[in-house]
Amino acid sequence: MRKLALSDEILLSVEKPARYIGGEVNSQIKNPKDVDVRFCMCFPDVYEIGMSHLGIQILYDILNRREDTYCERVYSPWVDLDKIMREKNIPLFALESQDPVKEFDFLGITLQYEMCYTNVLQILDLSQIPIYAKDRGEDDPIVVGGGPCVYNPEPIADFFDFFYIGEGETSYNEIIDTYKKCKKEGKSRREILEMIAQIEGMYVPAFYDVEYKEDNTIKSIVKNNPNVPDKVKRQVEMNLSEAYYPTRPIVPFIKATQDRVVLEIQRGCIRGCRFCQAGMIYRPTRERDLEYLKKCAKEMLSSTGHEEISLSSLSSSDYSYLKELIYYLIEEFSTDGVNISLPSLRIDEFSIDVMGKVQDIRKSSLTFAPEAGSQRLRDVINKGLTQEDILEGASKAFNSGWNRVKLYFMMGLPTETEGDIEGIAILSDMIARKYYEIPKEERNGKVSIVASTSFFVPKPFTPFQWSRMDTRDEYLDKQKILRNKINEQLNRKSIKYNWHEADLSELEGALARGDRQISKVIYDAYQAGCLYDSWSEFFLFDKWLNAFENNGIDYRFYTCRERDENEIFPWDFIDIGVTKRFLYREYKRAMDEKVTLNCKQSCSGCGATIFGGGVCFDKEGRQKEVSYEG
């Protein structure tokens, strides 16, 4: 029988002890003595969130396919256990073997959102691994970061030995092989990192120096080791259909956020919305093969026993075989009681048909993400959705029986005016009016419209990386304008307005475009008790503000500052394929309110063709012609 790291007494004193015991269906059991390399994969948030993440399941599968490697998992202990572990000095342990993380060769941490940074420090601290990479010794695990936040790793660069920039499928095998070889040759930690830094896509922060100008902007980013590259190239898996896919994903005992089979149908997005980081860092769009997905769906449902399957991708409606795939899933599995959970789809005849088939019309709602309230601002952000699309789609769905609509908007977008904000209220009202065009006797009760706004946070590697972000007060004023405008509408009683917290977004903004100076702030905020910042009940904004102040850093330098065209960004040493020149051209086009066509309509020369595949090439393998370039 497996021995647990925590005593019965501790496990029975904390909430949901199942978070800490491992042993789930499809988790891997190996004898640590039989392997050469032990890898601990971490999602720095609570178990139920971390277990819902597809990326870790993919990497877990890739690494465990190797006989010489044992990949295990660890998640952030919840606050109750966190306290006990500190009091009793219990080292953080991996779920499978229950062995201390500090005994592993690697600790891999996925960075999905900036607000997890204090949890990263918690993981290191509880593992009894020195928080700063420079303080680690030969026996400490090599700490590697991955995930979307590595497109600006600088705020947390001091805490990591290296970052894996790009998609995990391509290079983990090479990293493990290199590590094994180095170990056999008795190489030191520094020598190993030097070897790893020579694998494409790997960034070892210690080998790069950053110099600042007097105004605190960056003067230069220069390598201090002759053996490492000047620029780190993003890794891209071009063959998604033959790439690893975990057909035996782990099934948690407790209900995870995603309690279902998740099928990734494509990677990347053709749309080019100018606020969207995912739309840039996952280029080019690559689709998975239909037959391959059918096979995966079947295998995954039978290996997990899940009662639900959902499709995962950006802009799912753009997947070429969506119709075939969804009809296949319905025909093949819905009679077995498997629920098909639809991604958000463009509203048309097809989506209305499938929504009618797999959802209860009375309970489900239509979702639109216009993101901005006016056509002018939608052109600025290059959101292709028009008012006509929304009204027509809503009208069709209303006629088929739906009466609930969810609308998602962002506030604080570049160039936003009062008129654009008021447009959110006007558009919501227009949708409600559409509903009441239906004759009374054919209506399905009252219409319900929920409009939500989030605070726009400019992200690295987007055309808006040069933009100024609103302050909290500006945002709150805008909320007020919108609330007032909604109250003026004819159908105000049918419109519900939800909004996100502004404080959290301001901090996210500072961390997203921060530089290495910020690492001290993160460290101090963590030491002051900040943890689980993405959980509003634990978010301590005052402590963060203190940490900035004590380090003499004005966080608004990172948020509320329009950047100059030639400013060197902290993340400029990363080459994502999409060029800075393209992003700047898009920024200028945004200011001119000019729309850029999507990748299927026309190639706008972003630079992603360098990867040699995906949407950039036609079926015959010919590169699409670039229709305009800046």
């Binding site: 029975l12 002890p17 269906v25 009662e307």
Partner: protein, 271 residues
């Protein structure tokens, strides 16, 4: 068809709550290739119920789960197929198809059939009771004295008030080793229990050797948890009860045969 599954729950799985065990079995049926029947109505869900949900931290040799499957095969095949999809800590030991409602006029749910249950309560290593109880022998002496009281009163708290309840009549059988317990059981069960138990117990054994076998009431009319017995024992010793000190392990759940008034394990009765 309605089926009753008997299983063991042990090791780390004692930390999985009963609602999650239900979710676990829902998925396990699917993995094994058997579909459940779904309830009709607004929120269809698989039809499933436990004889007696097991508290967190308790292990068991005798858990009963009633479910409704679209189809089933021979019990031997079912047990094998289900065990093939189990994880460590769950082991299926019995499977039977229950009679249809039409043939069986009386209430058939496992929960409603329950009458008594057997438990093994062991002191975990690293814990003491008091300085005078050093081993099983000294424990037996004190525990016997505790049981010899005219009445064993505990305070039962409900939402509205507190009442004193004498739990002594609810403690049916007490023994201090397996052999003694089996001999005593033989006088109350319809058939010898050894015949039914063709699997090894998963109860954890502790070096200190202090343990007690208890058979207690477990019906809807009269229900006693073994924790309460131990709490009353600490009261008797004028000690504060330490709930973490004892590993409770359920051995079996019985129904009472109407004719002979003797006990039958839940999966062996005819209904």
């Amino acid at each position: 068809m309605k089926v009753r599954i008997k299983f063991q729950k042990y090791g780390a799985m004692k930390f999985i709550g009963h609602l999650d065990v239900m979710r676990y079995f829902q998925k396990a049926f699917r993995r094994a290739g058997y579909e459940s029947e779904y309830s009709k109505g607004y929120n269809p869900h698989q039809i499933m119920s436990f004889a007696a949900p097991l508290g967190l931290g308790i292990t068991s040799d005798g858990e009963y789960l009633d479910a409704e499957l679209v189809r089933a095969e021979d019990p031997v095949i079912m047990i094998k197929k289900l065990n093939d999809v189990m994880t460590e800590g769950f082991h299926i030991t019995g499977f039977k198809v229950l009679k249809d409602r039409e043939e069986n006029q009386k209430a058939v749910s496992a929960m409603s059939l329950m009458d008594v249950a057997d438990y093994l309560v062991s002191l975990k290593d690293g814990y003491d009771i008091n300085s005078s109880i050093k081993d099983q022998e000294s424990f037996k002496k004190v525990f016997d004295k505790f049981l010899e009281q005219d009445s064993i009163d505990i305070v039962k708290k409900t939402k509205k008030n507190e009442t004193n309840v004498n739990i002594k009549p609810m403690i049916k059988v007490v023994a201090y080793d397996k052999k003694e317990f089996q001999e005593k059981l033989a006088t109350v069960v319809k058939e010898t229990p050894i015949k039914a138990v063709n699997y090894e117990s998963v109860a954890e054994a502790f070096d200190n050797g202090i343990l007690v076998y208890l058979q207690v009431s477990s019906s809807s009319a009269e229900n006693l948890k073994p924790e309460l017995v131990m709490e009353a024992f600490y009261d008797y010793l004028q000690l504060e009860f330490n709930k973490f000190a004892w590993q409770i392990h359920r051995l079996e759940i019985y129904t009472r045969d109407e004719e002979t008034k003797r006990l039958i394990p839940l999966d062996e009765n005819e209904r």
